[in-house]
Each structure stands twice: as structure tokens, then as C-alpha cells.
Amino acid sequence: MLIKICGVTTPEMAQKVAASGVDYIGLLFTKHSPRQINMDTAKLIIDSIKDYPTQVVGVFFDETPTQIAQIDAELGLDVIQLHGDLPRSGVNDFTHKPIIYVADENNLPEVLNPAKDFILYEDITPKSTEFRYFIAGGIDKDNVTALIDKHSPHGIDLSSGVEIERGKKDFNKIREFLAVVKPSYYGAFGGMFVPELLIDPIKNLISAYKNIVLSDEFHAEFIDLLNNYVGRPTALTHVKNFAHAIGLENVYLKREDLTHTGAHKINNALGQCLLAKKIGKTRIIAETGAGQHGVATATACAMLGLECVVYMGQVDAERQAPNVAKMRLLGAKVIPVTDGSATLKDAVNEALRDWASSYEATHYCLGTALGPYPFPQICAHFQSVIGKEAKVQFAKQSGGVPDVVIACVGGGSNAIGIFQEFLSDENIKLVGVEAGGIGDKVGENAARFQSGRLGVLHGNKTYVLQSDDGQIADTHSISAGLDYAAVGPWHADLFAIKRASYDVCSDSEALAAFQLLTRTEGIIPALESSHALGYLMRIAKDLPKNTKVLVNLSGRGDKDLPALLAKGVLDVTN
């Protein structure tokens, strides 16, 4: 479904709208509209969206064809929308570019070309022609679904339905509208790019999510397990020594390392396995990078009596050997994957292949907030408990809200788990930290926001590290859990609309943080979580001393010890 938002009047709104994946924005020049803009503003708007695929439509109500041509010559419009009689009289002048022709009761001009032009039906019933068409006229989030069902348009033209007052667009209303029309997307990102075979299983999962996961009954059972099996709520710890060591006072850690199995992964694994059981699946498959999701899934399966198969890249299986042994001890079958780079990406590939033949009895328990919709949403939902707890605890201990919330981002489940609760308060800075690895070049890191570009991997549209030719790039990180070429679509959206920022932490910075937290606080963090701490160490000198910082300590570091000790990078000589 193509979305056009008509009457955008500021560059700021245009940028946010374009970043949200809107296909067309319409600019109005007529003095009879409250949405009129002048040429200078039009130029600023066009400049503000030049990096996006969004196209600029000049919408003309009462201009002469000559005036339209002049405006076009000055602005370089992508599309020309001919509305009133006077503009429409010039339809022959604009055959060189796409036209949106607003239909009336008369026949369509023969000069229109279905290969490039659209028809717009405003408040009149679309006629069946070979043209693609928009519908328009008082459309909002409440009536759009019925209108789409009735008219099957190719596009929706919006204006007053996403305004807070006449002539003033409202970004929240626009986002609410997009969520209705494109429910599988987070702005421009997400979707379900899977082979046809998997569409039906995915649709079944969507209804299971809506009907079961979101029910009060399921929620009560899930919370009971979190409290009495996982050990929630986890602590919020004011780490004063660590804070002082880096020149700060108020650093708080949300202690996901204290959960049963030692990382936030159990929140999602347990939720999904519980759901799987409710919908009659007897077998669970999972991919794992660091092994934390694998262990969490194997644990949930042992407790719920489900068969468990975990795919793990050979490289990861070697560097996270304790977790492989743990999974096997818990009764799971661990299948090492030797294809490609033999890391997380390849494990996801194998899990998807397995699911394509086994979906009838098998649930794919995807471990992070990515993949085809609804996987990112399901995972984010089960992880939202982190932020909910943290917000209450933070208020109690510090008497307010954090200034900044920091979390490491592989696929992004722990980060989205803590970020969600703070999204609505725009004064709170949200920072995701990616693996900076050993350098800036492709292949030396897993910094999708630094050097990735828009792509489609594992069922969702997001930032992907890839070659110019669209082959997925190899990645590197000292931490297996961050070593992945794509990032969850919700994060991609938060980055695009600038609600969260993303930075990197190198292997060596992460190692330094790993050791500092261990020595100053007696907490051994996972290498993944150490990236969030390493980033904080680097930027601490630029922060006011009393900045209130909340870091999600997503997991414990025991799993990393054998590999780090073998490498000789830890100081254990005392």
C-alpha cells in the first residue's frame, strides 16, 4: 500500500515522515489552503528528505499550467498532482513525468499513461481501469481498513485525518495511522519477507500472539513463571565504585545477569515456549549466538516438557563451549552449523530451513527482536518486563527518571526490552551500542548503523551489513551475541526517526569494561553487556558528573571465561 501525506509544511515533519517510510509527500502552493508553503520552505523540505526514497508531489488546485511548470522547474518535483480544472487543463504539458490525476465525473484524458501515472479518487467511487489509484477524502486510522476492503486501492492519500488542528500535521497521528495500514512494520522497517511456504505458519503465529499472548490469562501465567521460576524482578544496582572509577556518580545497572540462566534471554524463551505449548507444538527449534538464548530455550523446554533443537554456528560453539555443554545437559540437541561464517547468521538460516519443513509441530523460538513479523514484536513484548521493572526501581532508588539509558545491541532484544518503557519521554536519551570489533572496515565489526545499508535479511527489512552487490557481509565481534549482520527493525526505526542513537564499542573497550566492573563491583558482566559499559566508560568524561545513567546489564560473563582465559586477555596473575 502506497502512502501519501498531503500538505506537509515543515522540513522537520517531512524528515520524520520520510524516515517513517511514507512513499509520497504532497506540497501545496495555493493561497486558499491552510497548508500553503512558499518556495523557500519547499526547497528546505525537499532538501530534508533527499536521502530517503520518499517522492515529492506538487499538488496543484488553481495554478495555471505555466505556473506549475515554473514551480516544477525551480523545485524538480518527482510527481505532479493535477487537482482543479485549471491545472488539469495542462495535463498534456506534463507527460514527461509521473502525474497523479484527480478524477472527476468526466472520462480520463487519453494522454495519461498507466505505466507511470496514478488516478486519485477523492470522495468518489473508483472506477475499474488499468491505472493504479489512490483514494482520498477524510481518511483516518479508524475508517481506513473498511475503505481499503471496499475499494482495494493501490494508495491512500492522507491529510486532515493525521492533523491535530486544521493544517497542522501530527507525527503521532501519522504513526498511529501507519501502524493500522502496515501492522507488520516499524515505520519503514520490518515486514515479512519469507518464502510463500512460511506465510501461513507466520499468519498463524500472528493470531496466536494477538489471541493468546495478549490475553490476561496468558499474561498472569507468564508473570507467575517470571516471578517464581526466573527470579524476577531482577535487582537494580547502584554501582558507585564503577561510577567513581569513570568519573560519574549515578550509574545504575539493571541486573538481567541475575535471572535464572544468567541473561535476559530467558524472558523471551520462556514466553515463546509457553505460547508454543498452548498452540499444540511439541518441538522447539532455536538459533543461538552466545549460547544464552540456546540455554534459555533448552531450560524452558526441559521445564515445559518440549523437545528442543538448537542451531549454533561452529565458531560460536567453540568460543562458548560451556553453554553448549549446558544445553546438552538440559536435554537439547545442539547442531553446529558450518556453513558461511559459521556464526549466528548461519544458525538462523538453518533454523529457518528446519522450520520450513517442520512448522506443523514445531515452533521456531527466535531469540531476538528481529526476523519476519511477528517475531520482533513477540520478543519485544516478552522483554518489555525489563524496562517496566527498571523504571519503577529507578524512581524508587534515585527519585526520578534516568537521563540516559544504554544497552548493547546485537539483534536488539535486551535494548528494546529496556527502551520501550522510556520511549514516550523524549527527554530521556536512549543509546544502543553495537560491536565495533577491531576496526571500521566491513568484516571487522558488526556496526550496522555505521556502515550497513537498507536491506532484507532473515525476513525483515532493516540495516544490513552487505557488499555493494547485496551479499551479506561477514562480521566480527569478540562477543558472539553481537556478531550479526542485521539489526532488529524497531531499532532501525528508532534510529531513522532519531528517537534513539547508536554508537559502537570496540573489542578492547569491551574487555576493559569487563574487567573494571568485575574488579570494582564484583559483578562479572557478559561480553555483550560489556559493550554498553565500555561505551559509557568512553563517553563518561563528556557527561556532567551527576548524570543519571541506566545500563541494561543483559547477562553474566561466566560463559565467556574459558575463551577469554585461553586467549590470555584477562589479568589473573594476582
Binding site: 519477507f193 518464502p195 529457518l352 547485496g470
Partner: protein
């Protein structure tokens, strides 16, 4: 598009290979050898690093091809080489979405110019297809639609309602591509269900690995696709002539 219709006039014998498997020149020779057998529709696969719909045989072929330096453009070069020598054989391109999505229109345009008649994007379902069908239509390329055993009757109707070009690819097995020993029991029923909602010809593929299966499929469908069985032969550096003989034996009905 006419070539595709032509291929289905009798029965379409469809053969898949990965572009660039064996190098660009050799790859074109393999395709041409297939076209010299009874194969009348070639499916040219663009290699991709993460082919989740494919089993081990095609994965390995894609890896070989990428290692030898094949790109999206050089894959189209293979199509061009085939077309230069053979004006009649129908050619469709098989690809994953990521290598082409960045410049979708340009890619489709180049595909058409190189001599392709149709395109199949395996991980671009109907829901996500956006401008894709429109672009194909305006360029005169047939978008080939896949129906799977899991596709519901209602969805089949939605997907196929507005399609009037190319053919329906019925991927008859669950799982990924790769040789199987037999055909699924529900095949006749599934084909009948597809025929209820479209007049387009139906080709059946996934797991077809011997001439008995080919015969069974061609008895009830309009075309038969063979992929992994032929791709596997390239692992052993078979000659184009030998490949032609294999295809001929397979498709003799």
C-alpha cells in the same frame, strides 16, 4: 512472455541451474546444452550468500558461484549469452530479494534487456511486493508466483486474482529445495485447487529427481521443474554434453 506461453503449449520442461556455477562462460554453455535437450524453459538462479529457501545442493552451488566472483550483473551476463545463441528458449530469473531490492526497477529493466522473460523472487511474498508487479508489467516481464502446500485456498485466490501472465510455480513439498524420493499424495488435489482460481499454466517443482516423478507431474500439471538433481551433477565438473544427455533422459516422457 510469449516464449513462456510457447514453453507451456505442449508441456514445459523447466531446468534450474545457478548462474556462474562453473564460471560465467561455462555456465552459459550448461544452460545452452539444457536448451538443446527437451528443456524449453530455463531458470537462471542468481547466487546469494544466505539462500534460506534452498537445500544443501543449491547452497553449495551458490557458494561455488560466489567464490568464483559471480555478481548480479554477471548473472545477467549469463542470461544474455544464452539469449544471443538461443532466441526461442524461455528464460526466467530466480533470485532472493536482497541482491536486487536496492535498485529494483533498474534490475528488472536490465533483466528484460538481457533477454529474460520472467522473474521469480523467492522471498518477496505478495504482501511485500509493493511496486514489483507494476514494474514487471510495465517492462513486459512475467512475475512468476509461487504457491506452496501451506497456501490457503483464500490466499491462493487473492494472490492469483490479478495475474494474467507467466505461470504458477507450485513448490509441492515442505522444506527446502533438494532431491526427494517421491511426490506428495496431495499433489492432484492441490493442482485442482489452483486450477479453480486461475487459468495460468502450472509448473510443479521441489524435489523432482527422476523421470518417473517427471512423468507423474506432467500427467497432471503443465510443467515440471528440476533443480537440485541437475545442479548436483555440476559438482563433478560434468561436460555440457553430458548434462544435456542427463536432462534428455530425465525429461523423456
Amino acid at each position: 512472455m510469449l516464449r513462456i506461453n510457447q514453453a507451456f503449449k505442449d508441456k514445459a520442461k523447466v531446468a534450474y541451474l545457478t548462474a556462474g556455477d562453473g564460471g560465467i562462460n561455462k555456465s552459459a554453455e550448461y544452460f545452452l546444452a539444457l536448451a538443446d535437450s527437451s528443456v524449453n524453459l530455463l531458470e537462471v538462479g542468481i547466487p546469494y550468500s544466505d539462500p534460506v529457501a534452498d537445500g544443501p545442493v543449491i547452497q553449495a552451488a551458490m557458494e561455488r558461484s560466489l567464490l568464483s566472483g559471480t555478481t548480479v550483473d554477471s548473472s545477467l551476463e549469463v542470461v544474455k549469452k544464452i539469449r544471443e545463441k538461443n532466441k526461442d528458449v524461455a528464460i526466467i530469473i530466480f533470485t532472493y530479494y536482497n541482491p536486487i531490492h536496492h535498485h529494483l526497477y533498474d534490475f528488472l529493466n536490465k533483466a528484460k534487456e538481457s533477454g529474460a522473460d520472467g522473474i521469480l523472487v523467492v522471498d518477496l511474498p505478495y504482501e511485500e511486493s509493493g511496486n514489483y508487479h507494476h514494474y514487471c508489467k510495465s517492462l513486459g516481464l512475467s512475475p512468476i508466483t509461487v504457491i506452496a502446500p501451506s497456501t490457503s485456498a483464500e490466499r491462493m485466490k487473492d494472490i492469483l486474482a490479478n495475474l494474467n501472465t507467466g505461470f504458477v510455480y507450485y513448490a509441492c513439498q515442505k522444506g527446502t529445495t533438494g532431491a526427494r524420493t517421491g511426490l506428495p499424495d496431495d499433489l492432484p488435489v492441490q493442482i485442482a485447487n489452483i486450477r479453480k482460481v486461475t487459468n495460468l499454466p502450472i509448473a510443479v517443482g521441489f524435489g523432482v529427481a527422476n523421470s518417473t516423478m517427471v512423468k507423474e507431474i506432467l500427467n497432471i500439471a503443465d510443467g515440471c521443474v528440476v533443480g537440485s538433481y541437475l545442479v548436483k551433477k555440476l559438482e563433478d565438473e560434468i561436460t555440457p554434453e553430458e548434462l544435456k544427455v542427463s536432462a534428455q533422459e530425465l525429461f523423456t516422457i
